[in-house]
Amino acid sequence: MTTLLRRSQLSRRHIALGAEFEQIGDTLLVSNYGSSEEIAQAKSLALIDLSTLPRTGFKGAGATTWATSQGVKIPERPNLALLQKDQSLVVRLSYHELLILSNIDPLSTQIERLDSMAVGPQTYTLPRADSHCWLAVTGSQAAEMFSKVCGVDLRPHKFANNAVAQTSVAKASAIVVRHDLGTTHCFYVLTDVSAAEFLWDCLIDAMLEYDGGPVGVASMRELAAEG
């Protein structure tokens, strides 16, 4: 297999914005865009591309049974997410479908381990790392911004931490997961990878009203560490 560096579908957007990249394994992530205000930006309203981070998915009548047998903790019902011991996040999309997202460092080991295993009966892998792009929207104004592009009420007191919505964002089918970074609101948005640039542009446009903009993953780590 090739050891080509994995770039995001949005890499040209990032380069144009002056991104500094960091390499983790064979993937490139935007660390920052050179601004000293990115942490403050992330607390207010920011967009981060996490598309090159590991993720996987399993589906089928036997998927949750098999995943449980492999030590995965399953959210009690669909449309909930549950943080795992290795800091990966298991998102239950239906009774028989799981999406597993790496943490942002990424130090999660579960995804690689599960991907390398033979799955159990009536369990089918899904190529989530290739089918979807993965964006994060952070900050106190995130829900207000989302109300311009998404018909689900994502306000913090209505959409709890680790709640999941399978909806559309800017008319693109999307999975929205609220997974806060310490005290900062954070929403993951996963949508069809071929629409990544479209969605990125829509979100940037929607953020302008609130002075939102892109930041790198370094800001997210700072916010997570602040607790």
Binding site: S147, K148, A170, K171, D205
Partner: protein, 966 residues
Amino acid sequence: MNQRLAKPYGSLINRDQPIKFSFEGTAYQGFLGDSIASALAANNQWLLSRSFKYHRPRGTLTMAGQDANTMIQLQSNPNALADRELISENLRVMAQNYSGSLKRDRGALLGLFSRFLPVGFYYKAFFKPRGMWEKWAPLIRKKAGLGVINQQLEPDYYDKQYKFFDVVVVGAGPAGLQAALTAAVDGCEVLLVDENPTLGGSLNYARFDAEGLRGQQLRDQLLQQIDANNNITSMTDAVCNAWFADNWLPIIRGKRLYKVRAKQVILCTGALEQQAVFHNNDLPGVMMSSAAQRLIHLYGIRPGSAAVIVTGNNDGYANALDLLDAGVQVKAIVDLRDTPTQDAISKAIAARGVRILTGHAVFAAQKTNNHLSGVDIRPITSTGICGPQSESISCDLLCMAVGYTPTYQLVCQAGGQLSYDDSSAMFTLTNCPEAMQVAGSVNSHWDLDACLAEASRAAILATNALGFTETTIPEIIAKTGVSPNHPWPIFPHPSGKEFVDFDEDLTIADIINATRDGYEHIQLVKRYSTCGMGPSQGRHSALAAARLVAAATKRTVAQTGVTTARPPFAPEQLGHSAGRSFYPARRSNMHYRHVEAGAQMLQAGEWYRPAFYGSANDREACINNEVVNVRNNVGLVDVSTLGGIEVRGKDAGEFLNRFYTFAFLKQPVGRARYALLTNEAGVVIDDGVACRFSDNHYYVTATTGGVDRVYQSMLKWNAQWRLDIDIANVTSAYCGVNIAGPKARDVLIKLCLDIDLSAEAFPYMGVREGTVAGIPARVIRVGFVGELGYEIHVPQHYGEALWDALITAGQDQGIQPFGVEAQRVLRLEKGHIIIGQDTDAMSNPMEIQMGWAISRKKPFFVGGRTIAELQKKTPLRSLVGFVVDDLSAPIPLESHLVLQGEQMSGRVTSCNYSPTLGKPIGMAYVDPLSAQAGSKITIKSSGGVRVTAEVVALPFYDPNTLRQEL
């Protein structure tokens, strides 16, 4: 003369901030907060516009943005409402719909010919004699419409936003304020919406007591509580423009359309004051009594110097007190009632010595210089009839206070029923949905305390329903007091011009004549006369029209009803609907490689695809070169947009066997098979190939535009069949290319070291898994373009790397990218159809020569039963190939007709110049009798030129398929 009143009048204006603007080229000054109409009124400019049909002078009617009289032209948009639009520094305002000048409009001459323009004129005049419409059309088109669109203007940024509330209260008058306060219990999020600049509604301008204190006191008290309540969000200058199912409310504010979801809605939309109908009731200076009060209290404007009030209720008396307090001489109150109700307000009027004429009506208004100059007062002898005794009173202001209609539009859009009681002239609203309450004057409560009590009750119903409270629900609030609606404020005049509908210049005679022409149903009267079809949508004409129709057809108003109130409530700008819409655009991972290579991109559905590579000016040459290179060397095309669906599980073969027309149960592992999909009607709806990678794993391709439908259809069928499979749409997870041409293997062999690419080991329609340039890949030997070819599908993020590797590896073989256009030519030469282009909503497999793709051995497949029946019948048409040998003939295009004599017998579905054959080739549906090779068909090509084509056997190229099986 400056009409401005001293403080405290003028709650909306800031006298410290003067604003300069112009109207009709004349400079004026107003204050911040002034509407255009109020600022002009302050300068004694009352004439604002000309009416649509007769170009009659029109001025302020409601001062509430509810009428078409104040429609003016701004640089940015036509038909702005002068009583809604605020002035701003250097704003340029023009009137609309006049010839010459606003003061001296030549179009007003039309009024002299009004008897020749009766109701239904349009219908009567344009149909006969035959061809007459062509004569009328240019004139009508010139006269139709109001205002001018500035096409040079850069459009503003309009957008949309969702909002979510537990309770939405529409209307922030006394009932709305009280409803919001009562509803805003712990945890209940309340939105209070009002179209006006400030909360308070009638409390801001109406008079509720003789002293004129109660309204202001109550407003201050309620607003203080509203301000202090964090559960209430107020939205002013915001119009709730409709009600849609499940309390979906479009609220327009500025340049944003809010899409509001409410769990409960409380409509406190109030009531709209109605005009009296008499001769010249449309003159500037004649206005609703509430309009005069708005001018006085909101803008600090004296609405006239000498006033007459025509009234059918005691609100007219309150209006008179306001006028007196504002320094207006009130010459008379003309009360339609014989015996007015006595209350503190009427007593106060009597005490101030105002002349009151009971049992009288305004029979006519007179004008001087486009403005009211006096009224003709006469006694009422019977319903709608005035006696001959006439008294003229000179005045420059006539206030009308003859009744109200509830602002029922949103209620009725939600399924509510509006009823009218002829005896009391009162309206009732019933049948509201469970999640909707109504309160206040919209529900015919005219007593202020009753309005507040009902609003509280409505809020309790809402919060109880939402589970926020378990409060005991108060008794239904009884309707108290006397109806303010006079049952018949309509007085015909021998000279007509008693306007029922100001928007369309419709008079009493027009409405009655509509019924005499046989249109007795109120809905037919509306359409025949256009009553209620203008910008104000019947707000002031519906009741009067219903009364007239009722009388003319000898029914009650209750039996007659009013016309349907459809959304939107108020006119909305196109920008509100068109602003910031989302059209998802999809790009493959190789997208920028195409752009960098000079591709002209096209959008195929949501996807961007390379049409061809090179200058748009050299389109044909570029496409031909790409075709030739594929035929002679090797080409590379991005097929990432093709659908990809994984079907996995022990019943995967059985599923495909039922879903597609072919047989799949015995398909060997490592082989691909053509997959044709029909629907239950036997119509071909998609195609692709099904690749079997293991006993329980198929990877099925589908067309770019069809994959979502195929996937949904698969899910739907298996919901019934319950087979043990999983279906996953992985279209975006894989990038794909097709490397095609006689040298394709020579290129691929350099990069693909773990798959034996020899023809024997990897034959046509074989599938393999391995690596290409070190990238994990699924390789499928297909021949869509009719050459040796391999589709290579790799994980999405490797797409660009795969493209680069193949382009680099193919340099010695002359590899070049080719686009969708060349691919279309190549497949046409090979005789392969494109679903959706060469098929339509009626195409069955037999008529497109695909009977070979149907398995007759299996018991069932979707559409099989229908196809079996169709096979017993003579086909109605056949899809055939044709060539055009006359190179000078215009090349037929898609959808050009195939003719038999002068009758259409079919149509062209595809046609291109074939660089390989050196002439145009195509496919067309023809009569089956013309489907034999050698038949001649006539195609009506561009410019109507008849082109003769010869039917030939398909494919045009490589009939023995030697090249794709190299």
